[in-house]
Symmetry: C2
DNA sequence: TCCCGCGGATGACAGATGTCATGGGTGTGG
DNA sequence: CCACACCCATGACATCTGTCATCCGCGGGA
């Protein structure tokens, strides 16, 4: 519904034409190629296995002439960082005024980058993700309230190892327990 | 951005006119009255103190002739229940096709109720919220990973009492610890 | 009147969690 | 070759968490 609504909004602009819409990240590259798109507008949170950031990287790799605009619900600095690493040209949050959307499309077509300066500052001041891949796995597995034993079974680890990884993750996030660590890592876009 | 986009979408329909838009729940009743709206379209998750459900109840109380359509990101059965209790005429989730939005507006104007039958069945089979107000408070306070001592201080309770309330909440949600209880209660729309 | 649910509290106990020291193996870069 | 980071594990320990029994006071129904 939101996708179709944003398409309607862009369609009202005389100089912009919506040439394709897809629901899943896996379908982005194909649709963009078939429709001859000049700009791809992607949400980070999408159904399916592929996130909008993955789709952005795929577009950048396979259709380098296509500009990528990321629109997301959550203005997490970590998202911005990862979007830039994935090769995005613009990064917008959904609670920005609607006019910024069309404006961003026009500007990336002129070769400009479009980034909220406040968010950019936050992303830079925050520092990079300090978690190792395994710490991320364990933290993600702990997010739903699983017991250490469950996590150990799911990741084929010993229970003590799970405790060790969680302990380091808790310290790196400056949290006091796993729940706080999960919340902080989520806010920072590290999961 | 999403609000303006949905307004653009509805504006494309010949028989529907968007007469007002507001960002915060507190402004809904005033704007609906001033604009002479026939239908109020409300999101549950809104900035400001007033949720969309509160706004729905306010509209129902002060402008009884105005139909209320709830649109929400999360199709939680508890949300549906609370929306109906607040006097909503329609309940839509945002990942439904865009056409359903205009269709719902037309149908509530004809006096019909619009509810996804799958969600209705889920809401009925799930049973009502079993939590007492205090259990809800404590569970909400525990959601961010606070220690028992923090929660006790924040709610002016003893630490043991916090443990007791959490224990009963954990049993009522059939969870194994507080984190799981929080997740389940959130999914059910009990918080 | 009596019972029951709710709010609030205490104490005791078992189990889960977080920390630390310490060990091993692997791979990568200087 | 050595240092270093990462991965995985164990054991010990302190603390936090979850459960249970038990108590008090209050108010609403039967």
């Amino acid at each position: 519904m939101v996708r179709e609504a944003l398409a309607a909004l862009l369609g009202l602009e005389g100089d912009i034409e919506v040439v394709a819409q897809v629901a899943r990240g896996e379908d982005v590259v194909g649709a963009a190629r078939d429709a001859g798109a000049q700009v791809a507008l992607l949400d980070i949170e999408m159904p399916g296995a592929m996130t909008g950031l993955d789709a952005a990287a795929a577009v950048r790799a396979e259709l380098p002439q296509v500009r990528v605009v990321i629109v997301t619900t959550f203005g997490r600095p970590g998202y911005l960082r990862r979007a830039m690493e994935a090769g995005a040209d613009a990064f917008l949050v959904k609670d920005a005024p609607a006019g910024q959307l069309a404006e961003a499309v026009r500007r990336v077509l002129r070769g400009e980058k479009v980034i909220d300066p406040v968010l950019a500052a936050a992303a830079l001041s925050e520092g990079a993700d300090p978690l190792t891949p395994r710490e991320r796995d364990v933290l993600r597995a702990a997010a739903d309230g699983s017991l250490n034993a469950d996590i150990a079974r799911r990741l084929h680890l010993s229970e003590g190892t799970v405790r060790n990884y969680l302990s380091t993750a808790i310290q790196k996030t400056a949290a006091r327990n796993r729940a706080e660590a999960v919340r902080i890592a989520l806010e920072r876009g590290w999961l």
